[in-house]
Homo-oligomer: 338 residues x 2
């Protein structure tokens, strides 16, 4: 098979690799129908995370099952499946509690920018669609496997409720999907923080009622102005820097909630400040598996169209250009087709 | 009037002070029926917080209204009242949201270890009991004004639910009241972390089903042992040190919640660790005013008896001994009667 391998910052290559094989009776092998580049892939690409030895990349995927291990009965060869970036047996205590991304057998997927992928714990990880979906749904189903599932979790962690005011910090694919989630969960006012025209436009299409272009203290002041001086009920932090976290915490009202889904880089939260803010805080890798049936249904019934976050589609062998376009912010998110 | 004044670490004196007067039409003056020493009073007493100029102390009180300003209609002279350590107008946006301890007009009470006290924003701060309560209820009503209200908030912030498992970190008066709250909110298993026999006994009387004496990593390991290796659904952090916060965060299961009510001292939370823990975190000065009617009712109907946390009662003029006894851990909490 062939897939993406990162060698150094800025150096992603499309290479011949060993074909994946069933290693455990709980594995499945899928033929990838679509995969993509994630904002979090840019951390090592930009040299902001260590790379070590060259290794495959990618954790988002939809595909068709080619082979399953002897213990896999929930999906079968020929079915179109959606998974999560984190595998889960879906039977352990954490899975039963709804926290499949803390599954006791969790593995983070990392080889999905390829034409074939081995899925560990396939029984608990993969969800098959009722039938093979039309091509038009593929981007949105792919989004569900990570960015839409993550935006959904951000909105739940931020406790978005009907009639509430939500702020979305970050206008990447996850932030934009966070706007969709806030809308679906009934937020009356959705404030997208974005300074990029194309992303503002998409945020508005997804349901944002206001756009704030300022950042930092000025951004917080703008949010306060829009919320009667109090702050927002819910803030979705979809970046992961110290600045974005600060902005998120300061934008929430006393008793409000911040859901943070950007993997934190050098973020330290001062206990006393959090204490006096009265803000609730929850984050983490989204338990996407919990949401898959619901989100797949919302996609296939046309309720949501998160696939619009893909504004660049390339053949998989041009994966390097897919990274470059996102790094240079020429693209929000790159979809790759084998 | 006479009241407590702190001059330096370890130096609290009972002194003659100016009588309080109505300063604003929203004020009330109460004659104190009981007041007490708070665990948080020990921070300056122990030299762990700056004292500055000598100043009065105390923020917990029940009493009888003597005089009200022209805008106060909710309580009247002669009524027995319970208040909160934080004043609130109970009309601003934060109050309407239930976060009265973030009232836009909040003042923290600080002169209550005295025979008379001026209560700002009395209209929104004080709640009168249906009638003058029997003496036996006074300690519990006093507890409601701070430690019981705070333990209640800790349990709510930790999202204690019927059938759940709760851990209480800290065996001071707030932690012990947290046990009461967890019990009232339906926790099936309540694990008190305590190494003091008298406090273990009271925790058990209040509803603790298990006691863990270990601290730090050993304490966390003990909690994991008691919770199938996963951790607790809810953890009430009732201390406020870096160690206790760490212990609390590590004791919660993925997707669990920590409610933290010990004022944090030198606590820094690593964003990445919180992220991967999936633990929700909320703290702050308890919005006691929100709970007053309910908690007063639970006291007067005999459902809860948080007054048992007072294991030393002294005349107000012996306030210095009251501090000493708590500092030396001879007493859990000192009640003072003018």
């Amino acid at each position: 098979m062939r897939g993406a391998v990162i060698h150094a910052p800025g150096d992603v290559r499309f290479e011949q690799l060993d074909d994946p094989k069933i290693q455990q009776p709980t594995d499945a092998i899928i033929r990838t129908v679509a995969t993509c580049v994630c904002g979090s892939d840019l951390w090592p690409y930009r040299g902001l995370e260590p790379i070590g030895d060259p290794h495959p990349m990618g954790h988002e995927y939809v595909g068709v099952v080619e082979e399953v291990g002897s213990e896999v009965t929930a999906v079968k060869p020929g079915q179109f499946v959606v998974g999560s970036f984190a595998t889960s047996d879906n039977t352990c205590a954490n899975c039963r509690n709804g926290w499949q991304s803390s599954c006791l057998h969790r593995e983070f997927m990392s080889t999905c920018q390829a034409d074939h992928v081995r899925i560990p714990h396939a029984q608990g990880t993969l969800v098959a669609t009722p039938e093979h979906p039309d091509d038009e749904y593929v981007p949105s189903l792919l989004a569900v496997s990570d960015v839409m599932g993550t935006g959904w979790y951000a909105a739940l962690a931020a406790e978005v409720k009907p009639g509430s005011t939500a702020v979305v910090v970050g206008d990447g694919a996850v932030g934009l999907c966070g706007v969709i989630a806030a809308k679906e969960l009934g937020a009356e006012r959705i404030i997208a923080m974005s300074r990029h025209e194309s992303r503002q436009k998409l945020a508005t299409e997804f349901g944002a009622t206001d756009v704030v272009t300022e950042r930092g203290d000025e951004g917080v002041a703008a949010i306060k102005d829009l919320t009667g001086g109090i702050g927002a009920d819910s803030v979705l932090e979809c970046v992961g820097t110290a600045e974005s976290m600060k902005q998120a915490l300061h934008s929430a009202r006393p008793g409000g909630n911040v859901g943070f889904v950007g993997v934190p880089h050098d973020v330290r939260i001062a206990g006393e400040e959090l204490f006096f803010s009265h803000v609730g805080l929850r984050g983490g890798p989204a338990p996407v598996r919990r949401f898959l049936p619901d989100l797949i249904d919302r996609v296939l019934t046309g309720h949501i169209n998160p696939g619009l976050v893909f504004d660049l589609t390339l053949p998989l062998d041009q994966v390097a250009e897919g990274y470059r376009a996102m790094d240079e912010r020429r693209a929000i998110k790159t979809l790759l087709t084998p």
